[in-house]
């Protein structure tokens, strides 16, 4: 099938955007989760507004807002890849924030008390004691959200990003073999996500709580 190399190029774009966006998204999520749990009301409030705003609006609206909306102000100019990465990162960040918050809160408060009683500061306690334990508990949900975000990248084709879905569209109309092309695109997504799941299972076993 002569479309395969082109689809492979699309897959490359998909993975490139996914990897950058998911790392950014995780960092955003971590910061927002900590803001959410900080003992300062205004920070909690900012974090909550962010999470609610993202969860309460469709991904595609967020994408259009960032790409068309922000660009229309002529203050900054984002190309479509940048807008795509930012949207996926901000979107995933809100969900990661909730996952991380719940993970941190699930750790027994005796752990914090023990660490603080030794003389650890609040941030050392978070870094050495709470987050490593919380992270293990969060892994399955983090995997889940990562898979959702990977699939969300397919929506970036609507702002002209040449990802796997976009290349599929082009190939489908160029070859008139819509059935074969979309089946292939589906199988490629499936394989990537399946590999991601295997990786997650491996990581989970490595970090299993003893």
């Amino acid at each position: 099938m002569e479309s395969l190399p082109i689809l492979a190029k699309g897959l490359q774009v998909t993975l490139y955007i996914f990897v950058i966006a998911i790392i950014l998204g995780f960092l955003i999520g971590l910061v927002v989760a900590l803001l959410r749990l900080a003992p300062i009301k205004i920070l909690n409030w900012i974090a909550k507004v962010y999470v609610d705003a993202i969860r309460g609006t469709p991904f595609i609206v967020q994408l259009f807002f960032i790409y068309f909306g922000l660009n229309s102000l002529h203050i900054i100019s984002l190309n479509n890849s940048a807008a795509g990465i930012i949207t996926v990162a901000i979107n995933a960040g809100a969900y990661f924030a909730e996952i991380i918050r719940a993970g941190i809160q699930s750790i027994d408060k005796g752990q914090t008390e023990a660490a603080r009683s030794i003389g650890f500061t609040a941030s050392q306690t978070m870094r050495h004691i709470i987050l490593p334990q919380a992270f293990r508990r969060m892994l399955p949900t983090i995997t889940n959200q990562s898979i959702i975000s990977l699939k969300d990248t397919s929506l970036l084709s609507v702002i002209g990003i040449a990802d796997l879905t976009q290349q599929g569209q082009i190939q489908a109309s160029a070859t008139f073999e819509a059935f074969k092309i979309w089946l292939t695109v589906g199988v490629i997504y499936f394989i990537v996500i399946y590999l991601l799941t295997l990786l997650a299972n491996f990581v989970e076993r490595r970090f299993e709580l003893r």
């Binding site: 005796g110 023990a114 003389g119 650890f120 334990q133 003893r210």
Partner: protein, 242 residues
């Protein structure tokens, strides 16, 4: 000079006042046992001594540091005050050895090899040297608690606080933990022990404090307090448990 001074200590949770007016002094090398019915405020009192509970009023001075002063670096003071919990609270993602060395390495900036050598000595002292590489999940309750004691001692504290250290243990495990605590007392550690172990209080305690309803009702040498209690509430409590 006393190493712990507590003056007019008050502690409220919302509208509930659990410590009403606590005054106490502990001398260096003294072993104080705190007894009383549940809800009497004895654990809260102990937790105020390293400010795990924020103090609502009064003054607590630990080894010369007034920990009720909002400007004090409480983390520094806590390094001098070890604490052992009813539920052990070992770090499950760290080995026994790492549980003990984490504080010395990260807080006291000790060399890893030095910290590990000291940790092994402490483990030897509590009889668990062979468990250095195990994870807390692989230990029995009594072993966990002895590791927790070693972890607190690794910071080389001046004072040790024990919050019902044997209450979560199977009866046959209690002896080992009490043995370690007795040894510690013998070595001259200043200890405040919230406990239901009247035998321990009697044998090891220099003084026993009886608390009820957020007050210190009575304090005395163990033989006096157990043998000749002065207050009705002390008598009623002792008659129920002895």
């Amino acid at each position: 000079m006393s190493i712990i001074t507590v003056k007019n200590l008050r502690k409220s949770f919302g509208n509930l006042e659990v410590l009403k007016d606590i005054n106490a002094e502990v001398q260096e090398k003294e072993v104080i046992c705190v007894i009383g019915p549940s809800g009497s405020g004895k654990s809260t009192f102990l937790r105020c001594l390293n400010r795990l509970e924020e103090i609502s009023g009064g003054e607590v001075v630990i080894n010369g540091h007034n920990i009720t002063d909002p400007k004090i670096n409480i983390n520094k003071v806590r390094q001098e005050v070890g604490m052992v919990f009813q539920q052990f609270n070992l770090f499950p993602h760290k080995t026994v050895l790492e549980n003990i060395t984490l504080g010395p390495i990260k807080i006291l900036s000790k060399d890893k090899a030095v910290a590990e050598k000291m940790a092994l000595e402490l483990l030897d002292k509590v009889g668990l040297k062979e468990k250095a590489g195990s994870y807390p999940g692989e230990l029995s309750g009594g072993q966990k608690q002895r590791v927790a004691i070693a972890r607190a001692l690794a910071m080389n504290p001046k004072i040790m606080l024990f919050d019902e250290p044997t209450s979560a243990l199977d009866p046959e495990m209690v002896g080992d933990v009490l043995e370690v605590m007795k040894q510690l007392a013998k070595e001259g550690m200043t200890m405040v022990v919230v406990t239901h172990e009247m035998g321990f209080a009697r044998e090891v305690g220099d003084r026993v404090i009886f608390m009820d309803g957020g007050y210190i009702v009575e304090e005395n040498e163990p033989n006096e307090l157990f043998g000749n209690p002065q207050h009705e509430r002390t008598k009623a409590f002792l008659s129920k448990i002895l």
